[in-house]
């Protein structure tokens, strides 16, 4: 479903992601845990390009969302002038390995020659999909809900599907009724969102994303901004979704929940995936010392 290939993300001189690769498979639920500031949100936001990776590629449903990263394609490297200069004196495979390891491709793309540019362009055109189209298939839920305050509860849900021509107004509002009933907000459908509690807002945010009928849902600490008594109602909605087979990626500090619903857990630390595995393995027998330390703190 989603493939993240060797992404790096710099904010100015701050390198936040430093070579992250992972794959989210169809129907899978993956939790991302790790210390605050380790790059969890940035990784999640790179999946739908709310952050553009500095290097590396993101793929969704077999489509390329980012520009082509030449280092990920041997064909591209082979078409470069740098490769041609090296391949005279060494094996092809060695030249490719050396170019990757030492980051030898020139910054200025045209300097690597016409063939190089042509191969890059071909790969891009064969695989690229417009980000706005891709995002329609990826729902996102934010820590701070980001409900639209100027629209009614129903309009929050119907806005995108109607504007994007996915449904007529009538279809969308019918769908909104169904979704609101599913999360127990039917009686709120005509109110303005600022009348809702935090837990209700987050439930609304979840169904707003579901109205686009996404293939995957991304959750960025969906319960971190909630009062403790409202955490349960939101987790319940997410749990139902995951049980229903929705492909999901969840950044969370709710370790009990992550352990319960995830098929796989990624431990992110210092901008890399320091450990990954099934929840039972990672929570009970962490191999990475930083993961062990982190878990001993949060599970205490």
């Amino acid at each position: 479903m989603i493939e993240v290939k060797n992404i790096y993300k710099n904010f100015g001189s701050n390198s936040v992601l430093r070579g992250v690769s992972c794959e989210i498979r169809d129907g899978e639920c993956v939790s991302i845990i790790g210390p605050s500031g380790s790059g969890k949100s940035t990784l999640l936001r790179c999946m739908n390009l709310l952050e553009e990776p500095t290097w590396g590629e993101v793929w969704m449903g077999g489509k390329l969302l980012t520009p082509v990263d030449p280092y990920l394609h041997p064909d591209v490297i082979r078409a470069s002038r740098t490769f041609r200069a090296l391949s005279g004196s060494m094996e092809e495979a060695d030249a490719i390995r050396k170019i990757k390891a030492e980051d030898l491709l020139r910054e200025k793309r045209a300097a690597e020659g016409k063939d190089y540019l042509a191969v890059m362009k071909r790969i891009y055109e064969e695989n690229h999909q417009d980000i706005d189209v891709s995002r329609q298939k990826m729902g996102m839920v934010f820590q701070h809900f980001n409900i639209f305050p100027h629209l009614s509860v129903t309009e929050n849900i119907t806005l995108a599907p109607v504007l994007l021509g996915k449904m007529t107004k009538e279809e969308a509002s019918e769908r909104a009724d169904e979704l609101l009933a599913r999360v127990g907000l039917s009686d709120k459908k005509d109110t303005k969102p600022n009348m809702l509690s935090g837990g209700q807002k987050q439930r609304l945010a979840i169904v707003r994303a579901l109205a686009m009928e996404p293939e995957v849902m991304l959750f960025d600490e969906p319960t971190s901004a909630l009062d403790p008594e409202m955490v349960g109602e939101v987790l319940e909605v997410i749990r139902d979704l995951v049980k229903g087979g929705m492909t999901s990626v969840i950044v969370t500090h709710e370790m009990g929940f992550a352990r319960e619903v995830s098929d796989r857990v990624l431990f992110v630390d210092g901008g890399v995936i320091a450990e990954e595995g099934a929840p039972s393995e990672l929570f009970d027998h962490p191999q990475n010392p930083r993961a062990a330390e982190f878990l001993s703190k949060v599970l205490r």
Binding site: D132, H150, L159
Partner: protein
């Protein structure tokens, strides 16, 4: 005091004086209304250019908007008016009221641009992110999500800008245009009134009335926008 009041009554009841004052008021209103429309259009365009992400062809309008805002806000209005009147539109037969409208419209646009830009930036970035994450493109997100929320934040500042504009138009009297301020001066120097106090006071009253009406209208508008939020 009774003398002052009787003079005021005299001014209001003398057709020749009143028609001079009305004529001046009309010019002030014409310049103010037309310039604020131009200012709003120019200001919106400049604000949108300013907030666009740099890179690509949008670099050019962004740079133009930046220079425009910097130059206009960094130089005196009177000088801008003189330059428009005596340099740029120093064409024989070009109506001076049009020159004044353009000068004030261009001036107002720079301030409006800053207000609108601030209003748009005051909307939480999370709103834009939520719109984009749903698959809406950047202009749809701007039009359907950000701008409706920005409007509320911008209305009071735009009201202040309009008020400032109405009052500032009085400097056209410096180049001899017959606006409300000039009318007061002309009536005052007329042989019968023989005093500036009365017509100047009446002109002040007219300006006050305009500003008051505008303030009242804006308060109403603000209230309506805000109550829409709660219902």
């Amino acid at each position: 005091m009774t003398d002052f009041i009787s003079k005021v009554i005299e001014l209001f009841s003398t057709g020749k004086y009143m028609s001079s004052m009305w004529q001046g008021l009309l010019v002030t209103l014409e310049i103010s209304v037309a310039a604020s429309v131009i200012g709003l259009l120019l200001g919106t365009l400049a604000a949108l250019a300013m907030i666009s992400k740099k890179g690509g062809w949008m670099k050019i309008p962004k740079a133009v908007a930046k220079i425009y805002i910097t130059v206009i806000r960094g130089t005196p209005m009177a000088l801008q008016l003189f330059i428009m009147m005596f340099v740029i539109f120093a064409i024989r037969g070009f109506p001076e009221i049009l020159t004044a409208i353009l000068a004030f419209g261009i001036n107002s646009g720079a301030y409006v641009a800053e207000n609108i830009r601030a209003g748009i930036l005051s909307v939480d970035i999370g709103q834009t992110e939520a719109g984009r994450a749903l698959g809406l493109n950047s202009s749809t997100t701007m039009i359907r999500i950000v701008i409706p929320q920005a409007v509320k934040n911008v209305i009071p500042a735009l009201g202040n800008e309009l008020i400032a504009l109405i009052k500032e138009t009085s400097i056209v009297s410096m180049i001899g245009m017959y606006d409300l301020t000039m009318a007061a001066k002309v009536v005052g120097s007329g042989n019968n009134m023989a005093s500036y106090v009365v017509p100047m006071s009446v002109a002040a009253l007219f300006y006050l009335a305009m500003v008051y009406l505008l303030t009242f209208g804006i308060k109403k508008l603000e209230k309506r926008l805000r109550s829409g939020d709660r219902s």
